[in-house]
Each structure stands twice: as C-alpha cells, then as structure tokens.
Symmetry: C2
Subunit: 336 residues, 2 copies
DNA sequence: CCCCTATGATTAACCGGTTAAGTTGAGCCC
DNA sequence: GGGCTCAACTTAACCGGTTAATCATAGGGG
C-alpha cells in the first residue's frame, strides 16, 4: 500500500516561484493577487494535482467542514423497519452536498455511544450537530448548545426549550385526519398511538384527543412503538376492547399497515366496517390493501430544512428562527 | 456562539507538571511511563476535560480515523424505495462504531459529485473508502486502489479485477429458487430481471438462464430496475407475452411485490395459477399477500464484512482476501 | 568506586496549512 | 526629487499534536 506522496502548498509555491502565503491566497480565492501570478499558481496547482490537506487547514481555521447527524437508536434498530431515517438522510445529504460539507453519521443508542457522541462533538470534530428524532428528555442537545456548538433537532425536544428544532405540524395533521373520520359519520374512533417518550407520539395523541373531545366522542387509546408488529398487536387489543369500533387513527403508516393486516385477519372490511387513517405517507401506503388514507409529513424536506438551519447557525447568520414547523397534509385514498 | 476554549496538551502538561511528550504518551496508552506519572496525567486530563484535537493529530499521523461510504446514486434516488442501502449502512455503522472509526456518507450520483468524491478521497480526508452497489463499469474504485487508498466494493465490480469486494452468492441463490419452482412442477417459468449494468442484475439473470437450460425449459425475460413500479410493468408485459406462464422468478422483493399486485390485478391467483419467488427477504415479503417465497441475502452482514475487510486493509493486515462471497438461502413461504 | 546500561522523561523538529505583520516598489503629489 | 500611500508579496508565527533524538538518573557489574 504505497500511499503516494501528495504535493503540499510548499511544492506548489516553489514551482510557481512564489511564497506559500501567496499560493494559499490564490487557493482560497482571495482578492489582491495579481492576475499573472494567480494564473501561474493555478497552473502549478493543476500540474502537480494539488489538493489542500484538510487536517492542516482545520488545525488553524478551527473548522472541519463536516457536520454530524446523530441517530439516537442502536445501530441494530435503526433502519430495521423504518423509512424515517433514510428520508432524513436523503434530505440532509442533498443540502450538505450543495454546501460542500461532509455528512458524518453516528448512531447513539447505548449510553456508551452516547458519551462517544458527546466527546466527538465537544472535541470539535464537526462544525455542527443534527439530532434525528429523539426519545425522552435527552440532555445531550442542550449540553452541546451550552458549549457553543451549533445544534438542530428534528422534532421539538422534550424538556429543553433552548435547542432550535425543525418539526412538522403533528397536531394539525391529526386533527384534519380525525375530522375527516367524524365527517364521514364515524362515531367509535379509536387510535393506535406512538411511543409516549417521543414528541411525534405525544403530539399525535394530543391531536386525536382534542379533536375527539371537540366532537363529543369518547377516546379509545392503545400505545404502539411505530413498528408493524406493534400495529398488529394494538389493533387486536382495540378490537377486543370494542368489537363495534368503526374507525381507527394510527400514528404511523407502518403501524397502520399492521392494523390493516389485523383487521383483515379479524374479518373486518376496510373501509366499510372500519375506516383506517395513517400518518407518514410512505410508499407502502399507496400499495397497501386497500390503499391507505394518511397524513403526509414532508420528511425529506424536514432533513433539508434542518441542514439549512444548521448551516445558517454555523455561518453565524442573524435572526435564525428557533423553530420551524412544516405543514402536514391529509392524503385521501381508499381506507377512509 | 461562544465556542469555549478547549484545553490543549500543553495545558494538561503544565497542570501535571510534565512535558507535552509525556502527556501524549499517556493519552496514547504507550508503555514506559511510570505509574505515578501516568496517574497524575490522567487526573489532569480528567480535571480539565481534555480531548485531543483530531486535526492536529491527523496532521502528523496521516490518519483521519474516518472512512467513507459512497452511495453511487443521486441523493434523490437513494432511499426512495430501497431498503438495501439502509441495511448496508446499519452493518457498516455497527462495525465501525466498534472500531471507533467515523462513518462519512457521500452520495455520488452526478458526474460532478463523482469528481468531488475522488478529490475528497485522494486528499486523504478518509483512511479508506467503501462503495455500495455500483452501476456500470465505474473507474473510480480502481483509480483509488492505484493511488494506494484502501477500497472495498459491495458487489463484484464490473471490469476491474483489482478491486477487492464483498458480495453474496447471487447465482447459487437463484439456482435454488428456480430449481424449487421446477421441482414443484412449474414449466413456464419467466423472470423479471434487474438492471443489466449491475452485477446483482447480471448474476441473477445468469443463474436463472443456467438453471432453466439445465432443466430443458425455455427462458422468458423482462428487465426491470428493482423498483416496485417496474415490477408491476414487467409482470404485465410477461403476462401479455405468455398468458399461460405458471411461475416467475423476480430479481428483487420490491419488484416481486409489484408483480404480486399486477398478478392480482390480472385475476391470477398466487401460487395456484402463478408461483412467485423474490430475492432479498425484506420485511415486506413476510407481509405481502400472499407471503413471499424469496432468496435471503444477508445485507447487514455484508455491510459488516465490508467494514471488517476495509479495517484489515487499513491496518495493513496480510493475506487479506480479495473477495468474500456470502451465502444466500431460499426462504419458503406461500407464494411458491 | 567507576563505568555502563536501562529506564523514563524532556527537547525540539515536524506535519501543512492560514494570516498578522513586515517589506518592497510603483505611482502620485507638491 | 523626496516623501507618502497603497497594492502586492514575503516572512514568520502559530494551530495542537507526535515522535526521533537527546538527556538525566538509578542500578548493576567488575
């Protein structure tokens, strides 16, 4: 493995017959370099195939040109069944690429890796940190903010108002979903809620409760964990509790798919016996049996927005919004 | 944004009453440091909350402790419908975390970003590079290898035998799948193949052709692109060509799901009228209607193996295998 | 008792850039 | 022509580590 000698600034300078400082200025596009010299330097750069050494540059600029995306799950759980993180990565990746920043991916499930993430960020290995969808009241984002590290969360952080975030309008989306069910004449509307240690789970349940109360209907809640399996189990539990239910709002498409399977298994027809509405609008909901009415949340756009906000923070742009909330939208298909 | 002063080696050295060099040796776990001094240094490190500056370290060691994973698709296509990349990331991520290396994610769809990746790797920003599932005969991996940069591909690279890779036994998996169909008495066995600029597409089609020939049956091929939509379209085309076909091997689960939808739409029953076998064993195949018989490939394990092989290369371990091929396995459910 | 060696610490050079401060020289004005 | 300004370049200090070379000290052998 012969890691070939790479040319340094010094080499370029010698070849172009100027000083290191001048080459540096040319490379960084500074003004106040005579056109003739600039050309000579550029030619030397070209001929030698010079590429700046990022480590050396970082050492003095205190910038790494890379940002971390923290996925607060163990590496094993992330991606197992979930289409959320991939979509976030897609949005973030596109935006960072355009800004010529590198994306460093970190999983932070265990307490040990949680530490690792903190040390890594504090050590200045990245210019900023983004947290994707957190559980519970994680103190890490707040800690980093207090240390002066630019941070953005996806999803309003629980219990720490000092951390800027990007989220979607869970509440509003759920309200329009549940109102849709009410308007269709459904009266026994249950819900399969998400985990209650995540904002997405909490807010969607709150939206359900509020709308039901407005309509003078009684709530009927079972909690799931956003997986298809939990959707199946939760649907069975709901049916056991209330065999006469005529609708269910499910807090994620994956669980909704599980619910559809369980309903079919129980001999219920969708939507004639039981109407089903999901939340996410993943591909899968277009192809489920029947196609799923669901609340679309713009996950890729959320990733993009997070990246944009973070880049703004890093560049010290003023008047950065502390929170950005993206709209959700009810997509009506056949299940309700 | 008050990026707080971080303590340096110098500060720790002063506090512990020793030289910088000694602190460096303690931090890097070198032997030949007296226990008493080691303790004093460690205490100082603790008290000051010292974390080494990676840029400074990289500058001298020529190591960055991070490795790149290249996803050779545009940021927009990756993850749109595909569960392959997430699984690779999961495997790679776990293994790298254990080795305390950072994962830098790069999308390399456009020619421009292709360049960017090359420059980035050549600039020594990463200690090694992994390519996930490539299209066509991409020269980049070979280029990097020739420059002395450790590289591993997922999937045998087309047209460049100098690049080490990790792959699965596409051919063997497909053979057992098609033999299973033949053994069940199917005689008009079609296939929906994958893109023919990818090894996964090519090898799976080759396996199909070989097994069919062995059995004295006639092949019937339509090409898809691994998406569900292409599976739907391909299945329709196959049925139009040969309404009497009694089985189809589909080169990916996503396309197989599309095929199931198209078959249902055409009024065919699965498996009684038409048997269907997929390839991948994604979650979705357990829950399709009917559950999908498919060839399981260990994608997460592939990611893990790639990471392990790359780490071996980076550490200059001898006798590194040039190729690792992981086994596939036929998972029989209800569709065939 | 002296010299040699082993052990463990320090000194100082170096990695490859950026940038403040200093130098040079051309152009302008009186 | 001399002094001043200003643009354009060079010099040199610095970022924060690693490590080869060097030095100090204690212990052991003759």
């Amino acid at each position: 493995m012969v890691t070939r000698e790479r040319p340094t600034l010094e080499a370029v300078a010698r070849r172009a017959g100027v000083s290191r400082a001048t080459v540096s200025r040319v490379v960084n596009g500074s003004t106040s370099v005579a056109a003739s010299i600039r050309e000579a330097v550029n030619r030397a750069v070209e001929e030698l195939g010079y590429v700046p050494n990022q480590a050396a540059r970082s050492l003095v600029t205190q910038r790494t040109e890379s940002i971390a995306l923290i996925l607060p799950e163990t590496a094993n759980r992330v991606f197992s069944d979930d289409l959320f993180f991939p979509a976030i990565i897609r949005g973030v990746g596109g935006e960072l690429e355009a800004a010529d920043k590198q994306l460093v991916l970190m999983m932070a499930g265990s307490a040990k890796s949680h530490d690792r993430v903190e040390r890594y960020a504090v050590a200045g290995h990245v210019d900023g940190v983004m947290f994707a969808s957190m559980h519970g009241a994680d103190p890490l984002p707040g800690t980093l903010v207090r240390l002066g590290i630019p941070v953005i969360c996806s999803g309003r952080p629980i219990g720490d108002s000092s951390v800027p975030y990007v989220d979607v309008d869970h509440f509003g989306g759920v309200c329009s979903a549940v109102r849709h069910l009410v308007a269709a004449g459904r009266r026994r509307i249950a819900t399969i809620a998400g985990p209650q240690d995540m904002v997405a789970g909490i807010d969607r349940l709150a939206g359900y409760r509020a709308t039901l109360e407005d309509s003078g209907l009684a709530p009927h809640v079972v909690i799931g964990d956003f997986t298809r399996e939990s959707g199946i189990a939760a649907m069975r539990a709901l049916l056991a509790d209330d065999p006469a239910l005529d609708a269910v709002f499910v807090a994620s498409d994956m669980m909704a798919h599980g619910a559809l399977l369980a309903l079919k298994d129980a001999g219920r027809r969708v939507p004639s016996d039981v109407a089903v509405v999901g939340f996410d609008d993943f591909d899968i909901s277009r192809y489920s049996e029947p196609p799923l009415t669901t609340v679309r949340q713009p996950i890729v756009e959320m990733g993009r927005t997070m990246a944009r906000q973070l880049l703004g923070l890093i560049n010290g742009e003023p008047h950065q919004a502390d929170a950005v909330v993206l709209p959700t939208e009810l997509v009506i298909r056949e299940s309700a």
